[in-house]
Each structure stands twice: as C-alpha cells, then as structure tokens.
Symmetry: C2
Subunit: 384 residues, 2 copies
C-alpha cells in the first residue's frame, strides 16, 4: 500500500488523482490532502478518503474548515507553514504536487529534503528553478516523476535507454483552440473561446497557457530540466489529435512514441505505479477509427509565446522565472477580464526585455526575479 | 569487438549487415560468412572483410569457390555439414541468420545449442517451429534478437516493461503494392508488378509474401513465438507509410510505438548493438514533411493469406509449418512463371485443408509436415 499525499487535491489534477486512488484502493491510500480554499470540495474528499492529515493553505478558509470538519481524528495543518509540517510529519511514500503557479516551489523543495518522491504536475517550479530542483533531487536521491502528459511520454520513451543515445525530443502540442484561427483575428479573441480547449479538460490557468502555446514553452523548459537537455535538443511539433504525447529520437534514427487517450488519469496513474503499470479502465486507441495522426510546424508568428519561451530556454538563469511570473500575472489579469488575450505575449516580452538576466542564480535570486517580474507586470498592465 | 557470423551474406539482409559492420569497424568483425551459391559476390565480400571462415552451402558452388579463393588462410566449410561446423568452430559472439526459407531451421538450432545469440532475419524457422526454438533458446539461455523491422519494433516497445502489463500488439503492414488495387483486378497481376514493393527493397521471396500479405501472417506467428503470445493478442493494422513499424498497448491504455526510416540497416544494427544503440547515419523522421501517419483495417477478402495465417495461428501444431511450406513452393512456382499470383492463397488453402494437424509436435513431426506439404503443393500445382 503506497501512502499518497495530494497537494492541490480540489483542482483538476487533484481530483483525477483521487479517481485513480478510488480505482485502486488495494494499492494506494490518500493519507494527506491539501487545498488552497475550496473547503466544500475538500470536506467531501475528506469524508470519502479519510486522510490522516489535511491542510487548507488559505488561513481564513482553514479557520472555516476547522469549524466544519466532523472527523476529529484528522490532523489539521493550516496555512503555508502547516503545509510544510504536513509534508514533514505524515509519512508519505509519494507526493502528488498539483498546486499551480510558483507557490509549488516551496513544498516541492520541502518534499525533496524529506526524501519523498514527487509526482509533479506543477510546471512553474521546474520552469523557474529547474536546475536547482533537479540538482537537489539528485543529491537527496529523490525521484521527480512527471505527471504532465508530454513529460510522462518522454519519460516512458526513454525507459531504460542509455541517455547518451538520445538525439532529440519531439514535444507535441495540440495547437490549442486557435491553431486554425487567422492571425488577423487574434485581437478579437474572448475569454470564453480561450477556455474551450479542443483536446484536454484542464484548469483555467493552464487552459489559457495552452491557447497562447506558452504552456508548450513551459514544457520545453520543464523537459530540459527533467531530462537534463539543452534547448536545441527539443523540437516542438504540432499534432492536433493530441494522441501522441511526445516522442524521443535516438542516435540510430529510431523514434519511440507514446500514445494514449487524452485523460490525465493515465499519466497520473503511471507516476503513482512506476515502475509498474496497472489496469486503468482506459482502452488503447482505435487506430482504424482515428484514421490518421497529423503533424505540422508550429507558427511562431501567431504564437509569440513560443519564441519568448525559446529565448528564455536559451538564456536560462533567472529569465525563465521572469517569463513564468510575467505570464502568471498577465494570465490572471486576462482571466479577471482586465487584459485582452492577444496582449499576453506583449506584456511578457516587455517585462523580459527589462530584466537583467542572472546566470546560475541562487534560489533567493530566482525568487527575487519572480517577485520583481510580478510587480513589473502588474505595473505594465496598470499603465495600459 | 563483437565477432559476427552472417549466414546468407550475399542476400539482401546479409549485404545490409555488412554495411552496418563497414560503418562500425571498431565494434564488429565479420568472422564468418556463409552463402548458398552466389560465389562472385561472396568472393568480393571475402576480399573486403577477410573473415576467418567461409561456407558455400551449395556443394558444386563450393567446389568452384575453392578454386577461385585467393586468401589461403581462410577456412572453407562446404555444404550443409560444413555450415554446422562453421557455426561450431569459429567462435561467434552473435550470428546473423539471414538464410530464407525452412533451411534456416537447422543452423538456428545448432547456434542455440552452441549458446550463440542469434540475430534472426529468417521468418520461416519461427513460423514452423516457434515454440521448439524459443523453448530451446530459453533452456540454453540464448537470446533470439529479431531483425525483422516489425519484431524489432515490438521488442523496442516492450523494452524493460513487465510483460504482464502487455495487452495487445499492433503489427503494422504497409499493405503492399496492391493495397489500392481492386479485388476484381487480382487475376491480372503479373510478376513485375509484384516485385515493385512501394516501401521496402527486399529479396524476391519476401517481396511476393509482402504482396499477398502472407508476410504479415508469418509475422503474426513470429511475434507469437518471440513474445510468447496467443493469436488474439496481435492485431494487424495497415499503415501505408511504413514509418511506424509496430506498437504495443499496455494495460493502462498506453501505446508505445517505434518509428524509423524504412531501411533494414536500422533493425539489423539494433540487433547487433543491443542493449546499446549506435549512431547509424540515418536521421530520424521529418514529421512536418511527412504530415500524417495513416491507419486502416486490413482487407481479409482481398488478401486471403491473412485469414489462412490467422487460422494456422489459432490451430498451431504442425499447421504453421504446412502454411509456410505450401506458400514457399507456391511462391517459388510463381517466381518461376509457373503459377498465377492470385492462385497462391488457393494453393495454400488446398494443402492446409488436406493436412491433419498434430498438436505439440516434435521437430521430426514438423519437418515431416514441411516435407509432406511441399510435395503436396508441387502435386497440386502440377495438376493445374
């Protein structure tokens, strides 16, 4: 029985993780749940899964949660400090980290220090501080198991191959809802169009990032960190069916590809069961019904976030953190109705251009760049 | 330095194997070459690669070869008995078995007894006596490394996965030159059309088998033997581009696929380098130029050999040997201009229907079924 903690249990990845655990009660036990503020959902989860420990990160929501919780045997850990204690004290075999944004960085580093293998759904932590996180994981002999479908695909393609034989990664992208939208129409794109992703049902922030293709840029940085690659070893490839989740080319000319239905439960379960596989309830792919898998070049003009992330990937240092922070604020403002969709890349570019990159930064320097970029982005948007 | 023997060195697979060895002279040495009767080509190969041992299987050709060979330091092994001695006496690390037809069976069993890992290009031996060969290989702790591109793909997809997680294999088929030919036109098909395969440049026998799709039926039987599967775990899938060489579906719904250029040097090299990979000179796949990978159901009506091989795959016993032998004779007669293309499956079916299947046969029973089927097939064709 693997003891699983889920950080971000009420979000999209969190609830999918609980579906996987519900399917395999003989294999997994959800011993710890943490959510930001959705206490209604969290109370339902607690009732069903009876975790040993629960954290509500938002302090006010935590106080309300404490009044409403019926099961007095459950340990409550309120706030960010509580989250750290929950990670340290619960006895976790594998931690699913599904908190979005840069606030996942601290709990990730805590888990690594506690030698807990992390199934990582959050992208931003690796984007901001990839080399610091992976270096720390190596030193503590901790595994970072990707949940992101593309990274999981790369991981499965690499299998036990000798990394020296790796020649290139094809990071596939569905192209998002605006793949076929003419560039001239981008100025008219509205929030509700953005939130209708053709292939994946995901959280709001990542759905916007998928529409700008910034998500793919983050995955480029994520893959570089997870698999220790330079930016020139990763090619982004548009694949509208989103059936092939990424591919790896080896030095003998062989390409290995991983394909599956577009449901996050598949990579989540793999991150929990690795090195084994378990029956998931998903059948494979009906290739005859599907008929074809299509591939095309990404359009860097229509999706400037691709070029911005490639720039950050080449520069590294604090620039990826600035890319991430500027994007996070810009997307939040877009979701709040305060920014037009097509302006997201312009805002990010402006903030990146103002940043003095620091090579081989400390964590403190990364966090400072993150804070600086967030404040700058807010200021840039405020002046529009 | 791996000491390689090539049985069938002057054929298509043999000469491709020598190209691989030529590319990696620091890794591989061709220590033994064996050919049936093409002594002109064999003399050129001996001159370039200076093997320690050479076998000419055809006794008359062997006598002529002995008169022409310049390098007197090379050991000559004439005839079938000589081939057995060559395998036993040369000190071989890995043997490439690229003799076509059922005559590969004896040298294969000899190699296994001598504990030599075999890179196997021949299909017929596994089709005839799959369980005997694989059982013997297991007992002698010998590896059978597939060279066939489809089997190599399956092998690479399985990698170090737990076999219990395997759910199904998708054996891909280009569909051959007559995929789009109307069934009503099959009676008019001529030899020269058959020998123009759209994707692979291969020997004549296998090119005919690719046109009838009997080749895919053999691969079904081959996969069952190599990976210890029942026939219901293998699905044949038409994939005209022949870029994806096969796929494996696991119990969690994940499908792993292997893709590469259509050149036999890639799977040959992998069978020589396994478990490593080596630079091959082949680049990967230009997915943007390729645009799409297509899949469709095979047409069992147009290609009756598929149904015949599936029948043999379900019955097992001596029936696959009969399928193979009847096909071998029918194809030879077709290649000699003595049989029309569309009659090949009819001949095979007639002989299969006359056969009394023996379950769990001995090798002697298999060889007897092979001889019986060959004689029967010749008789059936003679009476046309």
């Amino acid at each position: 029985m693997k003891r699983i903690a889920i950080l971000g249990s009420t979000g999209s990845i969190g609830s999918s993780t609980l579906k996987v655990i519900r399917r395999h009660p003989d294999r997994f036990k959800a011993v710890a749940l943490a959510a930001n503020s959705n206490i209604d959902e969290l109370l339902l989860q607690v009732k069903e899964f009876s975790p040993e420990s629960v954290c509500v990160i938002d302090e006010k929501a935590a106080a309300r949660f404490a009044l409403r919780i019926k099961n007095k045997g459950i340990k409550l850990y309120p706030g960010k400090q509580g989250l750290k204690e929950l990670i340290s004290c619960t006895g976790i075999d594998r931690m699913v980290l599904a908190i979005t944004g840069s606030s996942a960085l601290e709990p990730l580093l805590t888990a690594i220090e506690r030698k807990i293998d992390v199934a990582l759904a959050n992208k931003e932590a690796l984007v901001m501080a990839g080399s610091i996180i992976m270096g720390k994981a190596r030193r503590h002999n901790v595994r970072i198991l990707p949940i992101d479908s593309e990274q999981s695909a790369i991981w499965q393609c690499l299998a036990k191959e000798d990394k020296r034989a790796l020649k290139r990664i094809y990071l596939t992208a569905s192209g998002g809802p605006f793949r076929k939208t003419s560039r001239s129409l981008f100025k008219k794109i509205e929030l509700k169009q953005v939130l209708k992703h053709p292939r994946w049902n995901m959280g709001r922030k990542i759905t916007v990032d998928s529409a700008t293709l910034m998500n793919k840029g983050f995955e480029l940085l994520e893959a570089m960190a997870l698999f220790d690659l330079s930016s020139d070893k990763v090619s982004i490839l548009i694949h509208p069916e989103a059936i092939c989740h990424s591919m790896v080319e080896f030095n003998d000319g062989v390409v290995m590809a991983q394909l599956s239905a577009t449901d996050m439960r598949i990579p989540i379960q793999y991150a929990l069961t690795f090195p084994d596989r378990l029956e998931s309830g998903f059948s494979g792919i009906d290739f005859c019904a599907l008929k074809s898998l299509n591939f095309e070049k990404p359009d860097f003009k229509k999706f400037p976030c691709l070029g911005l992330s490639l720039k950050a990937a080449r520069m590294l240092g604090t620039m990826p953190a600035v890319l991430n922070a500027a994007n996070e604020i810009a997307v939040n403002e877009f979701l709040a109705g305060n920014l037009r969709f097509f302006l997201i890349p312009d805002i990010v570019r402006t903030v990146m251009n103002r940043h003095k990159n620091i090579i081989n930064p400390s964590l403190a320097q990364i966090l400072a760049a993150d804070a600086w970029a967030k404040q700058q982005t807010a200021a840039v948007i405020g002046k529009l």
